[in-house]
Assembly symmetry: C2
Homo-oligomer: 315 residues x 2
């Protein structure tokens, strides 16, 4: 629900973030540069996640923000969220067409018809590239796998004036693959850890049953079913207006990705999986909203939680 007052609040918050150098206008809605203080908060929270998850002794692979188109298809993304996908097109022509393209661009005309699809798409959810990588290894060990994917850039085609809804942002994502009970226990552990983290950082975050933004008329049914089965939880905190926004999500996929990507135990059963995603930009923004635009004025307890070795001002 977006009222006129909320829209005004969002605009005011964005204006303040820009005036204080935390965000840098990027020329399109939802595309921003980040100032150095913003980046410091972002990095400190990212490192807090690392410390909180260290007990799991996760593997730490890293994946780029593009992946094969085929991974998007196999994950079933196009059925659920076609409106959010980002597919990469490029130019494969020869001299004459290249000349035409450059000339159109120079005249400010549309040159998109000269492009054609490549085999790459933008990663829409940080865990997607991990599933085929795990499947490649062969049968899953009985205790499965725990992955910490680090801070990952993900893309969603949803230009918005709300600074909490960027087109390209970081998910700090953790993934558990294994037996259903192990996966669910791990997800619950992260719910407790996240609650502890937000308490430490004096963020007013609350846990809710949630659903994904499924596309179209059929999407409502999917969302309702997801809620009823309690497959997705979110922690929400106020960011650009009083109405809180999701800052962390806890997702149980059952056998969806195990089946889609062929991740199996030695006996052939598909693996279950769950992921936890921290929205690093949203959390940074929520902290700026809660504690003010100037880090050095933040409560001591919050500073101590983010910078246990002390905060260093300056570039």
């Amino acid at each position: 629900m977006s009222t006129a007052a909320e829209t005004a609040n969002r605009a005011k918050f964005l204006e303040e973030l820009i005036a204080r150098g935390h965000l840098i206008p990027g020329g399109e809605p939802g595309i921003y540069g980040r100032g150095s203080d913003f980046h410091k908060i972002f990095t400190a929270f990212d490192e807090l996640v690392t410390r909180m998850g260290a007990a799991d002794r996760p593997e730490r692979p890293r994946f780029p923000p593009v992946m094969p188109r085929r991974t998007l298809e196999r994950a079933g993304y196009l059925k659920s969220f076609p409106q959010l996908c980002g597919c990469i097109f490029s130019f494969g022509g020869a001299d004459a067409a290249a000349f035409d393209l450059a000339a159109r661009a120079e005249r400010g005309e549309d040159w998109s018809a000269l492009l054609s699809k490549t085999d790459a798409v933008l990663v829409p959810a940080a865990c997607y590239p991990a599933y085929p990588a795990i499947a490649l290894r062969g049968p899953l060990a009985p205790n499965g796998a725990v992955l910490d994917l680090g801070p990952c850039w993900v893309f969603r085609n949803e230009p918005s004036e709300d600074p909490a809804r960027m087109q390209m942002f970081h998910q700090r994502e953790l993934v558990r693959i294994g037996e259903a009970e192990d996966v669910l226990e791990w997800r619950d552990t992260w719910m407790s850890r996240a609650a502890l983290m937000y308490e430490k950082l004096a963020l007013d975050a609350r846990l809710e049953v949630a659903s994904d933004p499924f596309f179209g008329r059929g999407g409502k049914l999917l969302a309702n079913s997801q809620r009823e089965q309690r497959f997705k939880f979110e922690m929400l905190a106020p960011i650009a207006c009083d109405e809180p926004t999701a800052v962390t999500s806890f997702n149980f996929h059952q056998e969806h990705f195990g089946t889609a990507f062929g991740i199996q135990f030695a006996d052939g059963r598909p693996a279950n999986s769950a992921c936890v995603g921290f929205g690093l930009e949203r959390i940074t923004l929520a902290l700026l909203r809660a504690h003010g635009m100037e880090i050095s004025n933040w409560p001591r307890r919050v500073m101590g939680g983010l910078w246990p070795d002390g905060f260093t001002a300056g570039n």
Copy 2:
């Protein structure tokens, strides 16, 4: 020049990198996941760049890997490198078209005709988003600006089996904007710093006058002119074969970006600019080639250069 022997060497090196867990096949040429040791080397070199550049007291803004299409047009990228661009397309249709799209994807058919262009493109060179951001501030101070953009993901549409030529990789990019003489002096300082860094890391890197991969028949002339004017230098090191590959580039743009993006001094003159780009994946690969696949066996001096506080094995 790519001989059959070089192609075989590249395939062998890639195979070894995958077998040792440094790279994870991503399902398309030039798209790889990175293992945790690879990421450790990558991060350590990135931090070495930070230490080497600290004396410049750079500003440290961060930009996402997507930017407005208009920035690509203004930078003149489409005239020079249309074949490398990555433009983002998405789905803007309603229920019936979405159903068609998902059905085509499920049948393994082409669904790209149902997509349309968005206003976002992938960043092809890490410094591009910085120019409009600096222009936004108004007139440039007499001593200009020094930027450290951190490790930035950039995209180039050039699928290749050479592990040193990825489609999505990190440029660690530093930018100097100001008077021509200041900019050139800064570029030369970084040439010395880079030479020192590679010496410390026992990498056999050599400096050469270079040119960009300009498109088409006209491109050769542009490349020759760029070489004659010594606008671009590269440091090259052996990676996947004996023929060395560029690992760092030093680029003087004259007033190109100053004029294109309206970065001016108070008297209205356009600024000059230069950038230095470290290819973080290539440098990581060059180190693995030079010193072996197992970090803990690397020469002590190299370990000390990368991990002055000591190397920690494990995840």
